[in-house]
């Protein structure tokens, strides 16, 4: 392989890593909001899915990716409100309700696409002009910085962290834990919806059935891998994105012998890494103290 060929491949890999990690970045920032406030969010998957659907639908109708993205955020917000209603107000188990929200999204998206487009599989394909070219990448990285600064250096960022670590202390300081958690969960829906939008109107050109394919869970893994901190979480998203890009690049490629590389092993690397991190093999990852515990005002 010549040097220029190698350089070309390298540039191509960097580009595709940045692209495929963008939905993960949005979703894991969403997960960060919710989880730092003490609400486990395995519903990210469903929020991304419904965001992807809404974005592709509205972008198709209005021919504007920006309106599409807004619709994605709105849909994520709506689903997050539904999730918040159950886990914050009605104190449903967060894992159970999260699973249900994911099922709801998986069921409602083909249901709606059947009504709108007479097809349960997917939305109509978007022309190039109605899609994003590179904007979501920039927005995602700006949001990483904003999120990092906000969580660490602002009073409301401190509220967020206290709601997740010591909710009683926050409550006795006169700040409503319920309200902080509501805001955090809604924000996570907006971000996850944007992540879904970047999947359907940036990486792909339409919504297709179950197109998130576990990316919400992957974003959650990146969040844990990054120890619930914005910077390391973003790096984890890049790593996961790289594994994904590599796996796409090596699909069907014969590197040694006669058989193509079994890309499955590259695909599962991020998940193995997350298990190892959680087991303390690669530095201990500690969850927020009150994560997953419903807050009941005394």
């Amino acid at each position: 392989m010549s040097d220029t060929g190698f350089l070309a491949i390298l540039i191509q890999m960097v580009g595709s890593t940045l692209r495929v990690s963008t939905p993960l970045l949005f979703a894991s920032l969403g997960g960060l909001m919710s989880e730092r406030s003490g609400v486990v969010n395995i519903a990210l998957e469903g929020m991304m899915l419904i965001g992807a659907f809404a974005a592709a639908t509205v972008a198709f109708v209005t021919h504007s990716p920006w309106l599409g993205a807004a619709a994605g955020m709105g849909a994520g917000l709506l689903l997050a409100a539904c999730y918040g209603l159950f886990v914050i107000q009605l104190r449903a188990d967060q894992i159970v309700a999260g699973t249900a929200i994911n099922m709801l999204a998986a069921g409602i998206t083909p249901f709606l696409s059947k009504i709108f487009f007479e097809s349960t599989g997917s939305t109509p394909s978007l022309p190039l002009d109605d899609r994003f070219q590179s904007a979501p990448i920039w927005i995602a990285w700006i949001l990483v910085i904003v999120c990092w600064a906000w969580v660490n250096f602002t009073p409301t960022g401190v509220w967020l962290r206290f709601a997740g670590e010591k909710p009683e202390a926050l409550q006795s300081a006169g700040i409503s834990v319920i309200r902080v958690r509501w805001c955090a969960v809604l924000a996570s829906g907006v971000l996850a919806g944007l992540g879904g939008a970047s999947l359907s109107i940036f990486l792909a050109s339409s919504f297709s059935r179950n197109m998130t394919a576990g990316r919400g869970f992957m974003a959650l893994a990146a969040l844990i891998f990054g120890k619930w901190r914005p910077g390391p979480t973003a790096v984890a998203c890049l790593l996961f994105g790289f594994a994904d890009a590599l796996q796409i690049r090596l699909q069907g490629v014969v590197l040694w012998g006669t058989e193509p590389v079994p890309v499955q092993f590259i695909q599962i690397l991020p998940y193995i890494a997350t298990v190892l991190v959680l087991a303390g093999a690669v530095g201990k990852s500690r969850a927020p103290g009150a994560l997953g515990v419903a807050f009941k005002k005394g």
Binding site: I95, V96, T99, I101, T120, L220, G280
Partner: protein
Amino acid sequence: MTFLRSRIFRSLQPLLAVLIGLVIGLLITRLAGENPWHVLKILINSAFGSRYDIGMTLFYATPLILTGLAVAIPFQAGLFNIGAEGQLTLGALAAAAVGCVFPDIPWPLAPVLAVLAAFFVGGFWGFIPGWLHAKRGSHEVINTIMLNFIAAGIASWVTLYVLKNPESQNPETKAVGAGYLIHHFQSFGDAPLSSAFVLAVVAAILVSVFLWRTVLGFQLRAVGQGESAARTAGIDSGKMKIIAMFLAGGLAGLVGVGEVLGNAGRFRLGFSPEYGFIGIAVALLGKNRPAGVVAAALLFGALHKGTSDLDLETENVTRDLSLILQALIILSVSAVGLWDWFNKGRPMVNGGRT
């Protein structure tokens, strides 16, 4: 009086939740321009209308009994197993692998071997997060999610590279030997209902005996009800959690019996319409008790079969309605605050503040 009222209420609660879920779900079909009453009739007719339909309902209920148990047992020990999907994938793959590698083993030894392979490989996949939780303190929810993906990767590799069926474009393994196949019950037409259903029901009975009639089962439940108290009483809580997760994985693995030996005769990638996740709903609705799990699995099996005919019989509603109905039922069961409010007549916000 209030005690009595709340007892009656608690046993009615799952039924009420199903009712709420069904009513909201059917009202949603109204938005699609269908008559909810008509949709309901299709659901019931398609789930129970003929011997074949009943056979299919029971066929779908079989894996759900197993995955429901796979969620319920760890729950009794205070753990949340959302890894049943990965456990059943690898269990089914193991059953198929044994059948592909040793095709000449005769009946009845062959299915016994395949059942053991499915149980132990699934069990191993449950053991991992159980062990990690007990020994390394890592959260089982995240680990089981990760292991689901890892299992999917392994299954995809084995199916496409190691045991690939050379005669087909479908992602499936070679067929298992003829001695492995278990026969269908004759009285349900073409429905692939096999003794795997009996196996699942027997498993539920055994789990019930284990949890409520043995010392080990008692200790396991004690850990779930209060870990520190159980520890003080000298119970090895880590060991109980590992046992719970191993059993759960093993039972989920047995899903492979009905699918590989009783239905397809091979492992097919993506054969499970997320039985593992529906198992969460089944366990929850069944109050994490084996009898409840069986009842809930029958209901969800009926939902699955019932919605399968919607594609053809209605204009706008598809089988995806089953996902929506399941989600609504889970949400209704899980809303603690809602039930507090129903039960005590208190406002639902923040659990009874006025």
